[in-house]
């Protein structure tokens, strides 16, 4: 099972998520046939934190092998609102990986956030919700939710917050994160464009004298353009990504949702 969680592109050439296990023969002797409870439904997600906003994004394609099961299956969910349409929610969860686990995880986290809200009379902070999500994931350490989750919202100071997770609950707060099938395609782009990795002040010198470009948070419109560019790139190079781009922008005024077309090929 370990191979399933591997995101190591060195294991095999083109890094399709369903092709990431080495083709080794099963050991001789005792063998067991078992139902394989997991599958990979492809797709990709992305989140960027700004000074006073957070952008969450994901494509809407749902795949199974080379088949497209659905062209519109959202990976972004508003969490912890008090109504069915979640219009007063303040947190967004994105899940990618095994869709059935993603659905189950979303419903559990949503129920927990709702209970918190009813009991305490206030919405859960992203920080608390982030820790709780980690606990939920780790509770299933030996039969994990096969999902890469990202949680987005605004922290207690109103700054954009993005928390990213591995399937068993290890998490950290980051400026930006890409998850899922095209994570390895999008993440380096984000490193360069959000955290200005490998960008230096022109003419500042050579070797150790080189000065890094000063890091500052992106504006909202810069962020949205970056997201669209990242996905357009991923769609071009990854067969499991495409159809539609769902984007949610969390600000102090609430959550705005945008739906953009992506290539359907």
């Amino acid at each position: 099972m370990a191979a399933m969680f591997s995101q190591n592109p060195l294991m095999n050439g083109p890094n399709y998520s369903f092709n990431d296990a080495p083709r080794t023969a099963a050991p001789e002797g005792a063998r067991q046939h078992r139902f394989d409870p997991y599958t990979d439904n492809g797709g990709s997600t992305l989140a960027i934190a700004g000074a006073d906003f957070a952008i969450m994004a994901g494509d809407t394609r749902l795949t199974s092998g080379y088949s497209i099961n659905s062209r519109y299956h959202p990976k972004l969910f508003k969490i912890g609102g008090t109504t069915a349409d979640q219009k007063d929610a303040t947190i967004v969860l994105s899940v990618v990986g095994f869709a059935a686990d993603g659905e189950a995880l979303k419903e559990r986290l949503d129920a927990i956030c709702k209970m918190y809200r009813y009991r305490h009379g206030k919405p859960m902070s992203v920080k608390a919700c982030a820790q709780r999500l980690s606990t939920i994931l780790y509770q299933k350490r030996f039969f994990p939710y096969y999902v890469y989750a990202i949680l987005g919202g605004l922290d207690e100071e109103g700054k954009g917050a993005v928390y990213s997770y591995d399937p068993v609950g290890s998490y950290e707060r980051e400026q930006c994160r890409a998850g899922g099938a095209a994570a390895s395609l999008i993440m380096p782009f984000l490193d360069n464009q959000v955290n200005f990795k490998n960008q230096y002040e022109p003419g500042s010198g050579v070797g150790h004298a080189l000065q890094e470009r000063e890091r500052k948070p992106l504006t909202r419109s810069e962020g949205e353009i970056l997201v669209k560019d990242a996905f357009d790139g991923a769609v071009e190079r990854h067969i499991e990504v495409g159809d539609g781009l769902q984007m949610m922008v969390i600000t102090k005024d609430g959550i705005e949702e945008v739906l953009l077309p992506l290539k359907k090929d």
């Binding site: 063998r31 394989d36 997991y38 092998g65 080379y66 062209r71 659905e103 189950a104």
Partner: protein, 265 residues
């Protein structure tokens, strides 16, 4: 991608290498293995302006043997929804009995004859089945089926969705299970690529597309039959015909096929 129900739930050949069938010859102690035995092949369905059309052939296979040629795989629920079953037939019977009990329980509280309000609609039914199949997957005791559920949602709009043995669920203007996802889905998407397209289709057009797809499936799927069931779900109820014959077959194309396996001329 191998679409036969026998391949469902198995480790993928292209990931883990060729499947090891040696456990079938094992004369040692029986292990708690799971595999579909008597199986039904594809179910296909498409939405149209006022409802949904669904079809499945009347065959239950035992491996490659056409074992039961008179098996009805479309089931009506509460006179308002249709469920199409592919995969294991005994699991289908279990689900059918379970749903019969459920529909009797539903009638306890609402015995009024002329109102369907307050009864489980197709969207509710789909959610219920998704939870059931996901629970069974978590218990490593899966129900070896992929289901299509057709009917209407809470807003009285046509509804079509799928659930499989792992609890993965999704919706789309047209859906197909098994071989149908490779053979029928592309044809159906020509007529209903988006929800908007589907909302323009007439009932006659939708039925025609489904019949055409059933024909293609009979041409190419060796585990299929030319007798089939077809259901049309409208707001008025379900019209189910269970003993239809494929019409206007033409096997002329078969002459053109050359070059498979050892055939050289």
């Amino acid at each position: 991608m191998d679409h036969r129900p026998q391949a469902w739930g198995r480790p993928r050949d292209d990931v883990y290498g060729a499947y090891d069938h040696s456990y079938l010859q094992n004369s040692g102690p029986r292990q708690a293995t799971q595999a579909p035995i008597v199986t039904g092949t594809s179910v296909i369905a498409i939405k149209y302006k006022n409802g949904v059309v669904m079809a499945a052939d009347n065959l239950a296979s035992y491996g490659s043997l056409a074992r039961f040629p008179d098996v009805k795989r479309l089931r009506v629920f509460l006179d308002s929804s249709v469920i199409g079953f592919s995969g294991d037939v005994s699991d289908m019977q279990f689900l059918d009995r379970h749903l019969t009990e459920l529909s009797i329980d539903e009638a306890y509280e609402d015995p009024s004859s002329d109102s369907k309000a307050g009864q489980l609609n197709a969207a509710n039914l789909h959610k219920y089945l998704q939870k059931l199949l996901y629970k069974r997957r978590n218990d490593f005791d899966p129900l070896w089926n992929q289901l299509l559920i057709a009917g209407f949602d809470g807003d009285s709009k046509p509804y079509l969705a799928s659930v499989d043995l792992r609890g993965t669920s999704f919706t789309s203007p047209s859906l197909a299970t098994g071989f149908g996802s490779a053979l029928a889905q592309p044809i159906m998407r020509r007529y209903a690529a988006t929800e908007e397209d589907a909302a323009k289709l007439s009932r006659e057009e939708a039925v025609e597309v489904i019949k055409e797809c059933m024909k293609v499936l009979y041409y190419r799927d060796a585990r299929s039959l030319d007798r089939y069931s077809i259901a049309v779900v409208t707001k008025e109820g379900v019209e189910l015909k269970e003993d239809e014959q494929l019409e206007k077959q033409s096997w002329a194309f078969a002459e053109q096929i050359k070059g498979y396996g050892t055939q050289t001329v």
